[in-house]
Amino acid sequence: MKKLSEYGYRGSNINQRYDGLRFDNKTTFNKVTDVFHASVGHDEDQPAHLHVLDTNICATRCAEEYGNPCQRFCPAAVYEMVDDAATGKRRLQINFSNCVHCKTCDIMDPYQIINWVPPEGGGGPDYKNM
């Protein structure tokens, strides 16, 4: 994966590749709706099984260089950059209970600091007829 500047992007709009894309809930769905149809379940009261070794770079270096691509390469809306009310800064929120165990983050993270480990046994998707 290239950096935004290397790929020729200008400006800060990280949605520009998909400007025309709408989720009509008939043919197209956002990730959260799709993930609902994977019947994913994880006990929420456990440590996140996506180990991000250094979350300090998310709001700084990664935002600038790649526009936080984890929000895009993850097909299950696990990674989300949010505004932290307490600090007023952006931070990474890991919605690990959405995870469908595809391992894309472990492969794609440009800094190779996401380590996917299995969550508590029994967690994950419940695929039927897939």
Binding site: M1, N15, R17, T27, K103
Partner: protein
């Protein structure tokens, strides 16, 4: 609370097609051997009872299994020649093959289907149902399957020989504290541990780094498949039809392609594969799939239908030269975590099953020899190289790499391979 440990003979990590086939085949080899000793048709000593365990992180066997899928039944027929009579959930033979090139507005049907995408004689399957059925067959054969037990770390002796696997703890809260239901993971000791974790297995990653199993190999390349099941209102997409697409919405620098398979009860499997060696940091594989569905040809097909299931899974697409060393002291690698998938044919179930069977044959020989060293287990790589897997994977070794120069180069490369392969 004290950590429990359990001595087994062979532990398989991951209840997918590779490992379940391996466990089943091994149980049968041992049973047949012991029977032959008992009735005097073979000389030697009985192996006695061989304890075979399979651990699986999912809540049930098959819960984490997802594939397209069109299956070449070759390996399943070797594992179980009467698989149909044994109730394998394989009810849909491929009846029609179609290969489409999508421009932004149009779908251009190729007058011929490229030979690697010809699927006559194959079956459209639900891989998660097929896997659940394989799990039942394993249990009938005396294999112990432990769902809800993920492998958390490998166990090594002081010489870095693998001696088993530790399963994950249960009952740890979000702050890392023990809850009332806390149970530490179990140490499963085994003569041979078999990792069949699927693409980018977490234990495979630890093991490969520690024992340098990727030394001298090309880096693995991956693709991500994003899939939905749809119920259509009528028979507009024929049962047994297999459609593959190339072109829109992938940009010309990105490897990508779609599939639509006609399943029973007017259900279709529809999905989109994106090569994870893409360059654009703003690319979103799920959004690529949504765009694929908005193509006029696809949108018309889906109109009035209902999306009923969703899932996503990576596959290892690097082929022969990206495969790690498949063995070390006390351990073997099977299936997708070892890179056995044929990326050109988009098929890895048959090679996964075969890899599991060859692992079983290797372990059986090791049990007879009482030797679980890397030297003994290297027999596995020899069996793989002598099997039909290797010529099949050799013929596609440049396929995905060919797309790195862009789609047109990739298609030219693929076209040459279709002709020469």
């Amino acid at each position: 609370m004290e950590r429990e440990s359990l001595e087994m003979d062979v532990v398989f990590v991951g209840a997918g097609p590779a490992n379940l086939s391996g466990a089943l085949h091994l149980a049968r080899l041992v049973r047949e051997y012991n029977e032959a000793i008992a009735n005097g048709t073979r000389a030697g000593e009985s192996l006695g009872e061989i304890e075979i365990g399979v651990i699986e992180k999912g809540a049930s066997v098959g819960a984490h299994i997802l594939s397209g899928a069109v299956m070449d039944p070759r390996a399943l027929a070797e594992l179980m020649p009467d698989y149909a009579e044994q109730g394998a959930p394989i009810e849909t033979p491929v009846l029609e093959d179609e290969f489409l090139y999508l421009t932004k507005k149009r779908a251009i049907k190729s007058p011929i289907t490229p030979p690697p995408l010809k699927n006559h004689g194959y079956h459209i399957v639900s891989q998660n149902r097929l896997t659940a059925w394989l799990g039942e067959k394993c249990e009938e054969a005396g294999v112990n399957i432990f769902p809800e037990f993920p492998g958390a770390e490998m166990l090594y002796d002081r010489d870095d020989r693998v001696i088993g696997v530790r399963t994950g703890d249960k009952g740890i809260d979000r702050e890392g504290r023990q809850k009332a239901n806390y149970e530490p993971g179990v140490d499963l000791f085994a003569k041979v541990t078999v990792l069949g974790e699927g693409a980018r297995g977490s234990l495979t990653k630890q093991l490969s780094q520690r024992l340098n199993l990727n030394d001298g190999r090309e880096p693995q390349v991956y693709s991500l498949g994003v899939k939905e099941l749809w119920e259509l209102p009528d028979d507009r997409f024929a049962l047994g039809r297999v459609t593959h697409t190339l072109g829109y919405p992938s940009d010309t620098k990105t490897y990508g392609g779609g599939w639509i398979y006609g399943m029973p009860n007017r259900v279709i499997s529809i999905g989109y594969v994106t090569g994870l060696d893409y360059g654009d940091p703003l690319l979103d594989p799920h959004a690529e799939f949504q765009r694929f569905k908005m193509h006029p040809f696809i949108a018309r097909l889906l109109n009035g239908g209902k999306m009923i299931r969703y899932g996503a899974k990576t596959i290892a697409a690097g082929g022969l030269h990206a495969m790690p060393q498949l063995y070390a002291d006390g351990v073997l690698l099977t299936g997708d975590c070892a890179g056995f998938l044929n990326s050109q044919r988009l098929k890895g179930i048959h090679t996964a099953i075969k890899s599991g069977m060859l692992a079983a044959e290797t372990i059986f020989a090791a049990l007879l020899a009482g030797d679980y060293s890397a030297g003994q287990l290297s027999r596995y790589e020899r069996l793989v190289s002598e099997s039909w897997i290797t010529p099949e994977l050799r013929s596609v070794r440049n396929f995905h790499a060919g797309f790195k120069g862009g789609r047109w180069l990739g298609m030219a490369n693929a076209g040459l391979q279709f002709l020469t392969g």
